[in-house]
C-alpha cells in the first residue's frame, strides 16, 4: 500500500513552498509528486537527473509527474515507476476539489494518508467571503485533515487567536499547524519518520519578521505491544484519542489478523492487512507541543490496550 497525500490550498498560500521543501528534503523517502506546473515549482536544475515531457526525476529518487495529460494518466505513470514511489503526493490547483482528489487514496494499492490544506493566515478570512472562490475555500477547510496556517509572521497575536477560533468553526475536524514559510516537518506532513539525524526545518530569518513567531515543536509517543488485542479495544482507544495527537500509526496483531492503524487529525483508519503475518507491534504518535501529554496517552493505552486477547 502506497500512502497518498493531497496538498491543497488557494493561490498564494504557500503550497509550492511546502512542496519544494519536501522535494528537496525528502529524508530518504522516494516521493512521487503529481504537480500542475513544473515551472512554478522551480526545481533546482542540479537536482534533476532525468526529464522528459511529463516527468522529472530527481537525484534524490523523487519523481514529479505533470498533470497536463489528466489525472488518471499521471497517477498511473507514477505508480508504474519501478520501484514504486514510497509516498504519492498530489498538488491540487487552487480551485481543485481536494476531497474528490483524496478519493484516489482509497483505491486498491493506495492508502489515504491525509489532506493538507495550506492557508494564508493573513487573507484566509477574506478569501472565504469572496464571491467567486469563497465556497471553494470553505470546502478546502471542511475537507482538511491538517491545516498549515502559513504566514503567521504577518499577523498579530490577537489575529492569531481570532484565526484559531474562526478555524475551529470552519474546520472543526482539522488540526492546525501554525507556520511561516510553509515550514512543516515531513513527519507531520506525511506521517513518515525522518531518517535524517536533524529535524528538517527551513532556516528562518526571525529578525526580519515584524512579529516574533515561535515555531511549533512536536513530541513523539511510542507504545510497545508484544501481544494481540481485539479490534474492539483498538477502536475504543482511537475513539478516545486527545485532539493534541496529530498523527498516529502502527501495525498491530488483533483477533482479526494484522490491522493497520492510521490517524491524521480526526481521520481514523483501521484496515485489515491480511497479506502481513506479524509486524512491529508498536503504536507511534506525534503531537503538538505544549499540549501533547504523553502520560495521558500512556493511561489511555493502559485502559484499552493492556489486556491480551483471549483467542
Amino acid at each position: 500500500m502506497t500512502p497518498y497525500t493531497v496538498i491543497g490550498g488557494y493561490l498564494g498560500a504557500g503550497k509550492t513552498t511546502l512542496i519544494r521543501h519536501l522535494l528537496e528534503h525528502p529524508e530518504g523517502q522516494r516521493l512521487g509528486l503529481l504537480i500542475n506546473d513544473f515551472g512554478a515549482i522551480n526545481i533546482d536544475a542540479a537536482l534533476i537527473s532525468n526529464a522528459n515531457h511529463n516527468t522529472v526525476e530527481l537525484t534524490n529518487g523523487c519523481i514529479c509527474c505533470s498533470l497536463s495529460d489528466g489525472f488518471d494518466e499521471a497517477l498511473s505513470t507514477l505508480l508504474d515507476f519501478n520501484p514504486r514511489p514510497d509516498h504519492v503526493l498530489v498538488e491540487a490547483s487552487g480551485v481543485a476539489d481536494v476531497r474528490t482528489l483524496a478519493q484516489y487514496g482509497h483505491h486498491p494499492g493506495l492508502s489515504l494518508s491525509g489532506i493538507i490544506v495550506v492557508i494564508d493566515s493573513e487573507t484566509i478570512c477574506q478569501q472565504a467571503e469572496d464571491r467567486y472562490v469563497g465556497n471553494t475555500v470553505l470546502r478546502h477547510l471542511l475537507a482538511a485533515d491538517l491545516i498549515l496556517a502559513n504566514k503567521q509572521d504577518l499577523i498579530s497575536e490577537q489575529e492569531r487567536k481570532d484565526l484559531g477560533l474562526w478555524l475551529s468553526e470552519k474546520s472543526p475536524q482539522s488540526l492546525i499547524w501554525p507556520a511561516q514559510q510553509a515550514a512543516l516537518p515531513i513527519e507531520i506532513a506525511l506521517g513518515v519518520e525522518s531518517r535524517a539525524q536533524e529535524q528538517s526545518m527551513p532556516q528562518l530569518d526571525h529578525a526580519s519578521s515584524e512579529h516574533a513567531f515561535a515555531h511549533p515543536t512536536f513530541a513523539r509517543w511510542v507504545w510497545q505491544m508484544p501481544y494481540a488485542v481485539t479490534r474492539q479495544a483498538l477502536e475504543g482507544f482511537l475513539d478516545h484519542l486527545p485532539s493534541s495527537v496529530i498523527r498516529l500509526k502502527g501495525l498491530i496483531d488483533s483477533d482479526q489478523g494484522v490491522l493497520e492503524i492510521q490517524v491524521v487529525g480526526a481521520r481514523h483508519t483501521l484496515r485489515k492487512r491480511s497479506e502481513i503475518q506479524h509486524e512491529g507491534q508498536q503504536l507511534v504518535a506525534i503531537g503538538l507541543n505544549p499540549h501533547f501529554d504523553a502520560e495521558s496517552l500512556d493511561r489511555l493505552a493502559n485502559d484499552w490496550l493492556a489486556s491480551i486477547t483471549q483467542a
Partner: protein
C-alpha cells in the same frame, strides 16, 4: 469548370443580395448568386438541377460541438431523446427502465467475447426522478456475468452491474466516497466522479478512448452532413496537449470524401489545473501551419465552470432555486488574465465556457482588464453557453465587443427542469436571452454542445424561435427571436465569432460554396415546424454530400 445550381429558392444571408434562384460555383468558390441570366456571363457552365425543388441556405455553422457527438454514437446509446446516427439509423430514446434493460439485452446479445464489457452512454437520471435510482440490480437483469458500464449524459456518473464491480474487485469495504450505497451500506453500482468511475477501468477507459479515433471523426462529420452543417467546431479539442490528439484529425480531414470543415478550438488548460499558457499559445500558432481547408484552428477554449443541471455552475445571487449549490470555478480568478493574455496578445480568438452568470461576470471583467492592457478592437472573444446572461452583462458585452453563444437547446432538453428545479420560473424565462442580445447589439450564435444534445442547427434555431419545453411551456415570450434572426445565428453570426465570416456563413461571390439543402423554407414555414424540415444534404466547396438515405446520383 463552372457549375450553376438551380434552386426553388436561395436564402443567401447576405443582406445586400438576400434572395436568389441560382448560384454559380468554380473550384469550390462562389462566382455569383442571382438569376441565371446574371450568372451566364462567367462563361460556359453546367446547369445542375438536383436542387430545383429545394431551398438552399448557407451551410450551417455549429459554433459549439464536440467530436464526442461522433464517438458516443459508436457506443450503444441510452439517452432519453432519440438520436440519429451518421448512417441514418435511429438510436431511439429510452423512456423507462424496462426499455433500458431491453435495449441493453439486445446490445449484450451482439457481443461475442463473453469477457468484453458492455459499455453504453447517454443515460440521464434527471428524467427518471420519480423512480428509484438506477442501480446494479437493474443492470444485473441484463447479465450477471458480463461486466456492464452505463456512462451518464452528465459525464460525472456511471452505473455498473455486479459483474463489473466484481471484475475490478470493487467491494463494500473500499472507502472511496463516490461509491453509491444502499441503506445497508452495500454498493448499489452507482459511481460518482472520476475517482470512483476509474475503479471500473475497463468501462471508463472505453468511454475515454471513444472520441479520439478516426471512426468517431467520420461519424461526427456524417451526422453534421445529415443536419446541413458544413463547418463544425470541435470546441474543446486536446491538440495543444499532444500530437497524438492532432494526428487523427489531420489524417481524416485530408480525405476528399470528408464532408466537413472542422474548426478546432483546443483547450488552453485542463479544467481545474494550471498550465503553461505561454507554451500553449505558442503551440497553437505552430499547429496553425498544418491547418488546411477542412481543418482550422481559429482560437482557444477555456472551461470556467460546471453545468446548471449539475448545480456546478457558479450563479449570481440568489443562486439555485432548489437543490444544493455545488457551484465552482475551474480556474483561479486571479490567474485567468495571465492565462488568456498569451493568446489574446497573439491575436487568438478566445471562447470561454460559462454556464453560471457569476462565472460570466468573471469572464467579462477579465476581458475588460485584458483589453485595457492590450487593446484589440476586433477580438470577437465569445462567452459560450452564456445561459443566464443578465441584461447588465449584455450591455457590458456590447460595449466590449464580446460575443455570446447561447445554448438554446437547453430550453427544450432541460427547460422544464430549469423552471421547476434549478433556477425557478423567472430566470428560466430569461434563459438564452437571444432577443435581448439583439436589442443590446451583442452578436450571438446558438448551439447544441453536441454530444450533450444532438447536432442539428434547425433544432437549435427552432428552440431559439419557439422556446418550447417538452411539457408544453413557453419559456420567455420576450426572448423569442424571428426565424431570420435564428438563421443568422446558425450561419453568418456563428462564422463571425470565429473570424470566418469572410469565408463562410453566407452565399456571396468569393466565399466558399458551402450550402445546406432543405426541403422547405425555414423563413416561411410555421415556426413550430422548423425543426422538422427535411435536410437533404450539403454542398461543401461545390461538392455534393447527400444526407443518409438521400440519392442525388
Amino acid at each position: 469548370m463552372i457549375t450553376v445550381f438551380e434552386a426553388k429558392h436561395i436564402i443567401t444571408m447576405n443582406p445586400g443580395n438576400p434572395f436568389a434562384t441560382h448560384i454559380a460555383v468554380r473550384d469550390g468558390i462562389i462566382l455569383g448568386v442571382g438569376p441565371l441570366e446574371e450568372l451566364e456571363g462567367w462563361g460556359p457552365y453546367e446547369l445542375d438541377r438536383t436542387f430545383a425543388d429545394q431551398v438552399l441556405v448557407p451551410g450551417f455553422v455549429e459554433a459549439h460541438a464536440h467530436v464526442m457527438a461522433g464517438g458516443m454514437l459508436l457506443l450503444p446509446f441510452m439517452g432519453f431523446f432519440d438520436r440519429m446516427r451518421g448512417d441514418g439509423t435511429l438510436a431511439p430514446g429510452i423512456k423507462s427502465y424496462e426499455a433500458l434493460i431491453d435495449a441493453l439485452r439486445n446490445e449484450e446479445s451482439k457481443l461475442t467475447d463473453p469477457n468484453e464489457p458492455l459499455v453504453a452512454v447517454g443515460f440521464d437520471p434527471i428524467y427518471f426522478a420519480d423512480q428509484p435510482r438506477l442501480s446494479r440490480h437493474h443492470l444485473d437483469q441484463v447479465s450477471t456475468t458480463r461486466p456492464i458500464f452505463i456512462y451518464h449524459a452528465s459525464g460525472h456518473l456511471a452505473t455498473v452491474n455486479t459483474a463489473m464491480l466484481d471484475a475490478h474487485h470493487v467491494t463494500r469495504d473500499l472507502e472511496v466516497e463516490g461509491l453509491g450505497r444502499d441503506a445497508e451500506g452495500e454498493l448499489d453500482g452507482e459511481l460518482r466522479e472520476p475517482p470512483a468511475m476509474s475503479l471500473c477501468r475497463s468501462g471508463y477507459s472505453t468511454v475515454q478512448r471513444a472520441n479520439n479515433t478516426e471512426e468517431a471523426m467520420w461519424e461526427f462529420a456524417r451526422q453534421a452532413t445529415n443536419c446541413g452543417i458544413t463547418t463544425c467546431t470541435d470546441l474543446g479539442g486536446l491538440s495543444l496537449l499532444s500530437d497524438k490528439f492532432l494526428e487523427p484529425w489531420l489524417s481524416v480531414t485530408k480525405s476528399d470524401h470528408y464532408p466537413l470543415r472542422v474548426a478546432q478550438y483546443n483547450i488552453g488548460a485542463i479544467p481545474g489545473s494550471q498550465a503553461d499558457c505561454e507554451a500553449a499559445a505558442a503551440r497553437l500558432i505552430e499547429i496553425r501551419r498544418q491547418a488546411h481547408e477542412k481543418l482550422r484552428f481559429p482560437g482557444v477554449k477555456f472551461i470556467l465552470d460546471g453545468s446548471i443541471q449539475g448545480f456546478s455552475a457558479l450563479l449570481n445571487s440568489p443562486g439555485y432555486f432548489r437543490g444544493d449549490d455545488h457551484g465552482q470555478l475551474l480556474v483561479v480568478p486571479e490567474q485567468l488574465k495571465s492565462m488568456l493574455m498569451p493568446f489574446h496578445s497573439k491575436g487568438v480568438n478566445i471562447h470561454m465556457h460559462c454556464n453560471g452568470n457569476a462565472t460570466q461576470e468573471l469572464a467579462i471583467q477579465t476581458l475588460d482588464a485584458l483589453l485595457r492592457e492590450s487593446p484589440w478592437f476586433d477580438h470577437r472573444h465569445t462567452i459560450t453557453h452564456a445561459q443566464l446572461t443578465t441584461q447588465a452583462q449584455l450591455r457590458k458585452m456590447a460595449k466590449l465587443g464580446i460575443c455570446a453563444n447561447f445554448f438554446s437547446n437547453h430550453l427544450w432538453y432541460w427547460g422544464d427542469q430549469h423552471y421547476e428545479i434549478t433556477v425557478g420560473p423567472e430566470r428560466a424565462h430569461q434563459l438564452e436571452p437571444c432577443a435581448s442580445a439583439v436589442r443590446e447589439g451583442v452578436p450571438f450564435s446558438v448551439h447544441s454542445d453536441a454530444g450533450v444534445t444532438p447536432l442539428g442547427s434547425l433544432h437549435t434555431l427552432w428552440c431559439a424561435v419557439n422556446r418550447l419545453t417538452p411539457s408544453g411551456r413557453t419559456l420567455g415570450e420576450s426572448e423569442k427571436i424571428t426565424a431570420y434572426q435564428g438563421l443568422k445565428a446558425v450561419t453568418i453570426d456563428a462564422a463571425y465569432q470565429m473570424h470566418l465570416d469572410h469565408e463562410i456563413g453566407s452565399l456571396e461571390a468569393g466565399k466558399k460554396a458551402d450550402i445546406a439543402v432543405l426541403a422547405e423554407n425555414p423563413l416561411t414555414v410555421d415556426p413550430h415546424h422548423i425543426r422538422d424540415i427535411q435536410v437533404l444534404g450539403t454542398v461543401l466547396a461545390g461538392q455534393k454530400f447527400p444526407a443518409a438515405g438521400v440519392d442525388w446520383s
